[in-house]
């Protein structure tokens, strides 16, 4: 099952882990893919996770398979998977770049993806190689419209 929406939340390089993102401000500036990924738009490093729509559809996440730091990704490349009771859901990169960090907390606590998909449950950080790709993503509003359209 291809996972709907991975969001890319931008945390600047100076923000420490854990993902101390002020979600409301970031969400409104966030960008979404039609695979349900969102990305707060900031400088060179993007944080990527899955949307609330996606985590609900997935059910309880029991295992996160994430790439190694240093992995180079092209937009649309499969970079990992989330395992839930129901299925294995592949994750597709919304952007091209290099993986700079992965959320280590998910190893012990994969349920963070469900509890806090935009913050503590985000997945990886990517240093963008092609920032123009951000313009190809959907705004939060467009994403909501998209979700409604596919639900019908």
């Amino acid at each position: 099952m291809a996972l709907p929406v991975v969001w890319s939340a931008l945390a600047g390089p100076c923000l420490p882990w854990p993902w101390g993102l002020t979600s409301s401000a970031l969400l409104s500036e966030g960008k979404f893919t039609d695979k349900h990924e969102w990305i707060p738009t900031k400088n060179g490093i993007e944080t990527v996770g899955i949307s609330n729509f996606a985590q609900e559809a997935l059910g309880d996440v029991v295992y996160c398979s994430l790439p190694e730091v240093g992995t180079k990704l092209n937009k649309q490349d499969e970079f990992g998977a989330l395992e839930s009771e129901k299925a294995t859901s592949e994750l597709y990169s919304p952007l091209s770049g290099e993986v700079t960090e992965i959320n280590e907390a998910l190893a012990e606590n994969p349920g963070l993806v469900n509890k806090s998909c935009y913050e503590d449950g985000c997945l990886i950080k990517i240093a963008l190689s092609n920032p123009a790709e951000l313009d190809e993503l959907m705004s939060e509003e467009a994403c909501e419209k998209y979700i409604k359209s596919i639900e019908e």
Binding site: G59, V62, Y63, S65, A81, E83, E85, T88
Partner: protein
């Protein structure tokens, strides 16, 4: 997810009103075999000692073919109403019906008294530690007198002519209620009135049956697996083994006497869940088998699976590797059921 699933709805094709969260319109096919020669008919198709079933007792059995492969798994109950009540997989509906109908015709041509009737009922599964208590409120019969694998016809929450069988596909205590299609929604609604009862879908059912070590036909057993390979030798009737008188008996009984090449085993691992088609390897890294079904176990908080391995690797405790998403993970052969079952037996 609670281990004690209170209700899994397995609805008949006609019941469009209830949400088909199950994704499949029908899980089970129900058939009656009637006539004095009904046991002879059944025994000509399955591996079990059907003649020895006590009134209203049922058993899991297998339709087999001449090569010893399993055509379907099913429950046969010898009812006190004078027929055999058969519940088999809806996915094998056409195949099973043709099998049974052909044999009926064959026996009738020889002068046997036998016939077949398709039962157009829905089947509702009410499963969990409090299933009997929930059901008792709606039936007059004392359910303490209905142990595991026995069956009775009774009025259930006002719906007459329901067949209640103390069995299920979850490893828990519970019943399967065969209800006339027109009344199924009413009955399901009545059951759901009790706050103890919740609807559950196929993913929940699948995790329960896997934890209980129960096979899914088409995944864990199929026409290319024999009962011995499938670790289902216990279904082979004692008398039938000696008589070698069921389809594929010569192949199957030989496997009982000798060694079988491969066996269905349980597997457990941590990390990413094992799923169907994951390769199984020995600790040297050679592929030796395949996973046939698997999922995360909500009860055990580990991953459980079934798969086939060569006989020499089938002992519980044997360390193996399973390849999940191109990574090899340590796994161990485990006894099934993975989670202790809670069948209501009068012992």
């Amino acid at each position: 997810m609670q281990r004690a699933v209170n209700m899994v709805a397995q609805l008949g094709l006609r019941l469009q009103a209830l949400p088909l969260a199950l994704g499949r319109p029908l899980s089970c096919a129900q058939t009656k075999i009637l006539g004095c020669d009904r046991v002879k008919l059944m025994e000509s198709l399955v591996v079990g000692d059907i003649a020895e079933l006590r009134p209203n007792q049922g058993t899991l059995s297998l339709f087999t073919n001449e090569a010893g492969g399993i055509l379907d798994d099913l429950i046969v109950t010898s009812t006190s109403e004078g027929y055999l009540y058969v519940v088999s997989n809806a996915g094998c509906r056409d195949k099973d019906l043709a099998l049974m109908q052909d044999k009926v015709r064959e026996l009738q041509n020889e002068g046997s008294d036998v016939s077949l009737e398709v039962v157009d009922n829905a089947l509702l599964a009410l499963q969990g530690p409090t299933a009997a208590q929930v059901l008792q409120a709606g039936v007059a019969d004392d359910l303490r007198k209905l142990p595991f694998m026995t069956s009775a016809v009774m009025e259930v929450f006002g719906v007459s002519g329901c067949r209640v069988t103390r069995c299920g596909y979850t490893g828990e205590d519970g019943v399967e209620i065969s209800v006339p299609a027109a009344a199924a929604v009413h009955l399901a609604t009545a059951l759901l009135e009790n706050p103890e009862v919740k609807l559950a879908g196929l993913a929940a059912r699948d995790s329960l049956r896997l934890e209980a070590g129960l096979c899914l036909y088409g995944s864990d057993i199929d026409e290319h697996t024999t009962p011995v390979e499938g670790s289902l030798s216990w279904t082979l009737g004692k008398r039938r083994r000696a008589a070698v008188d069921f389809p594929g008996a010569s192949v199957i009984v030989a496997q009982l006497k000798g060694k079988v090449q491969r066996r269905r085993v349980g597997l457990m691992c941590e990390g990413a869940p094992m799923r169907a088609h994951s390769p199984i390897l020995n600790t040297e890294g050679t592929v030796i088998g395949t996973v046939t079904s698997g999922c995360p176990s909500p009860c055990l908080k580990k991953n459980v699976a079934m798969g086939y391995v060569p006989y020499e690797y089938s002992r519980p405790g044997t360390p193996l590797l399973v390849e999940v998403r191109r990574k090899q993970q340590m796994a161990v052969v485990s006894k099934m059921p993975f989670v202790t079952t809670n069948y209501y037996t009068l012992k």
